[in-house]
């Protein structure tokens, strides 16, 4: 396993599979009455979050605590540029406290890579700007594996604001590594520049994609959050028109087989990108994703801290 986990592309197929397998074992802990395992006792993990987050930060915190690490949350929101402190100073200051691993989230793409280049400890990217969110891709793959089995040759449609989504970027990379096929669906304004060069297909037509007519049968659908601010940026005119074109409505659900899982990284905009029928219906695996998040992050922390020590022993 690489020293830091900055991008889903850091994982080859064997490493990704090993992590997902380890997460299965970690997942079993969640149903125990006593959930704590001892392997990271005495190790210190800092969640250094420059951007607000509830679910990802809690997920990393629980994962670290269930492995008996000391987990400290540092909210550095607004610390850097606005207070005049450089990112480098913030990172070095926190790392100097004797941290064994940093979990970093930042609103700017590439910020976590920069932090990793300055500090001596391993770094996990918990989301950097509109770039990547590799543990989200791992938990999505974990959830998909639980429903679909092996992911090779499976077809996943990712729908929504691809251009501004770190979830989409990490998922395209990891799903490709695992041998799955991806189709990205969005209006042209919400597809990233140069997406034609990505290892996936793209489409503007959600109905043609979900029905299987455009790119073959769909085995899973991942709906992405669409921020309402995108309207003021002119990416689409109204919520109504977006929902009509790209929302997972009850009618569109009917295009899917009954066993096709529907994923959403949260938080959901009900009525915009996803209807309540889709979010709460039998295809929805949204809460499974949250559970998977803890298991996958336990596996990542374990392999980066304890796994490395075992390898050296």
């Amino acid at each position: 396993m690489t020293r830091s986990l900055l991008s889903a592309a850091d994982l080859d197929r064997d490493e990704a599979t090993a992590l997902l397998d380890a997460a299965v074992r970690m997942h079993a802990v969640q149903s125990r009455e006593v959930k704590k395992l001892p392997p990271l006792r005495g190790r210190t993990i800092v969640n250094l979050f420059f951007e607000d987050s509830t679910r990802t930060r809690s997920s990393f915190e629980i994962a670290g605590k269930w492995l008996s690490a000391d987990v400290i949350n540092v909210s550095a929101k607004g610390s850097s540029v606005s207070k005049g402190e450089s990112l480098r100073d913030t990172a070095l200051t926190v790392a100097a406290m004797g941290v064994d691993l940093l979990v970093v989230r930042h609103g700017s793409s590439g910020a976590v890579q920069r932090v990793a280049s300055w500090v001596a400890c391993p770094v996990v990217n918990a989301g950097d700007g509109t770039h990547e969110h590799p543990t989200q891709a791992l938990l999505d793959a974990y959830t998909l594996r639980g429903r679909l089995g092996e992911l090779a040759d499976r077809h996943v449609a990712i729908v929504g604001d691809i251009a501004h989504s770190r979830v989409a970027r990490s998922n395209v990379l990891l799903l490709q590594t695992l041998g799955a096929r991806v189709t990205l669906v969005a209006p042209p304004t919400l597809l990233p520049a140069g997406v034609g060069g990505w290892p996936c297909e793209t489409d503007w037509d959600l109905d043609a994609t979900l029905s299987g007519k455009a790119h073959g049968d769909v085995d899973a659908v991942m709906m992405l959050r669409v921020q309402r601010e995108r309207m003021t940026g002119g990416y689409f005119p109204t919520e109504r028109e977006y929902a009509a074109g790209y929302g997972l409505s009850p009618q569109r659900l009917d295009l899917l087989d009954e066993d096709v899982p529907v994923l959403h990284p949260g938080p959901m905009n009900r009525g915009l990108e996803i209807s309540s029928a889709a979010a709460d219906g039998p295809r929805s695996v949204v809460l499974e994703q949250v559970q998977a998040g803890v298991a996958v992050r336990m596996a990542v922390l374990y392999r980066m801290l304890a796994g490395a020590a075992e390898g050296a022993a």
Binding site: L87, R88, G110, R114, R169, A193, G194, G196
Partner: protein, 433 residues
């Protein structure tokens, strides 16, 4: 008055000659000349002193990053004898008081001719004209006006500015960036790489569309337009079209846009963050060809010093800009001379003669002949030197060329007949002014 003799120098790379310099002018050309001070320039190329149309000296306001004095020293080490100090200081150079102060500081440093650029709009706000006539008539005699760093985006203001400078034969230097197509967050060439890296895209069309509009405004007003830091192949097409129709447009390209490409952004190292952004290699090739055929008139450094703490951020949060003065000649040698696109006559034209003409700067960019002001640069055309920012005279270190070997180096610079740099070293310590 001492006389200085350059022995065996090759003007514009031509046959070797001695050059005797006396009382600030070239007194004699020929072999076997004698003087009080002799510089052995055997085999070295002699150029007219380089003229930079686009320099950020950061004074007043950010003296921690650069001052007029340290920037002058960096310019001299880079072979320059004149620089144009951009107006985006704090306070903005939008009044006679500020431009005169910058000019005085430059004269006090005495290393290069420091020519202040005046702002086009008051406070660079893009709303009302700055006091252009007052600046033009001031002791600083401003002839170049620019809101550089920001685009004069409003078409009416741009039209008025072009018209208003006519009595002074001045030029409006436009930072071409439509702020609606590329706002202040845009920091990476919009394309596959920016999409993959998740960096806000800066599409070339944001430059091209403004240049297209502005050449039409220049045609309509009959005024002089200068386009700063051209970065895209399609901008070159627009310039070529305009020049073919006799429109009074000139343009510059930076050394870094002649050599570096967007792929350097993949590490997210903000030393490569610059505005306009580094572009793909096809653009670089088009820019080189345009500079070679004269569609682009000049190389201008866009020397942009920044304190380290303004670069030690995430890419999107770091300051725009890179140093240029002390590496410009070496970069141009690599991108243009070693590729056969320009000879040394061409380098002199694009880095001295034409920039001086665009800025209406007398006494700079002159032919190397008897009676001309002795503003000269001595270049070793075959000495590869590794760029070491620790040796820079600039107060900042944000060079994208650190550790890179460049194939030519400035040996000496002569400003107003006096040597300012000898064998790469400044001849006088920089004052605190």
């Amino acid at each position: 008055m001492t006389t200085l003799v350059l022995r065996g120098a090759r003007p514009l790379g031509g046959p070797a000659t001695d050059v005797r310099i006396e009382s600030g002018v070239i007194a004699e050309l020929g072999r076997g000349l004698a003087g009080d001070d002799v510089l052995d320039a055997d085999g070295l190329v002699l150029l007219p002193g380089l003229v930079d149309l686009h320099t950020h000296l950061r004074e007043p306001g950010r003296e921690d990053a650069e001052t007029v004095a340290t920037g002058s020293a960096a310019a001299a080490r880079g072979g320059f004898t004149a620089v144009h100090a951009m107006a985006n200081t704090s306070p903005v150079a939008d009044s006679a008081e500020i431009v005169e102060q910058v000019a005085r500081r430059g004269a006090a440093a005495g290393l290069v001719d420091v020519r202040p650029v005046g702002a086009v709009s008051r406070g660079l706000a893009g709303e009302q004209l700055a006091e252009i006539a007052t600046m033009a008539r001031s002791q600083a005699q401003v002839r170049v006006f620019s809101d550089d760093g920001l685009c004069v985006a409003d078409a009416r203001l741009m039209r008025r500015a072009l018209e208003y400078v006519k009595p002074f034969d001045a030029v409006i230097a436009q930072h071409a960036q439509d702020p609606r197509l590329a706002d202040g967050n845009a920091c990476a060439h919009e394309g596959e790489l920016s999409g993959r890296l998740g960096l806000p895209g800066w599409p070339s069309v944001a430059e091209e569309s403004i240049v297209a509009r502005d050449v039409m405004l220049a045609r309509h007003t009959g005024s002089r337009l200068h386009v700063c830091h051209v970065s895209s192949a399609a901008t070159v097409d627009v310039l070529r079209w305009a020049k073919a129709r006799g429109i009074a447009v000139t343009a510059e390209v930076t050394p870094h846009h002649l050599l570096l490409t967007e792929d350097l952004l993949s590490t997210y190292d903000p030393v490569f963050k610059v505005n306009p952004p580094l572009r793909p290699s096809e653009d670089v090739q088009a820019l080189r060809e345009a500079l070679a055929d004269g569609t682009i008139d000049a190389v201008a450094t866009d020397h942009a010093p920044h304190a380290a703490h303004d670069k030690d951020h995430a890419f999107a949060d770091a300051a725009f800009g890179m140093l240029g003065l002390e590496t410009a000649l070496g970069v141009v040698a690599e991108a243009m001379v070693h590729t056969g696109l320009l000879d040394w006559t061409g380098v002199a034209d694009r880095m001295s003669l034409r920039p001086a003409r665009i800025a209406r700067l007398s006494g700079q960019g002159r032919p190397i002949r008897v009676g001309e002001p002795a503003n000269l640069t001595v270049v070793d055309p075959s000495s590869s030197v590794v760029v070491d920012p620790a040796r820079f005279a600039s107060r900042s270190r944000n060079t994208p060329f650190a550790g890179r070997a460049l194939p030519a180096r400035v040996v000496s610079t002569i400003y107003l007949g006096r040597m300012t740099v000898r064998d790469g070293a400044l001849l006088q310590p920089v004052g605190a002014s």
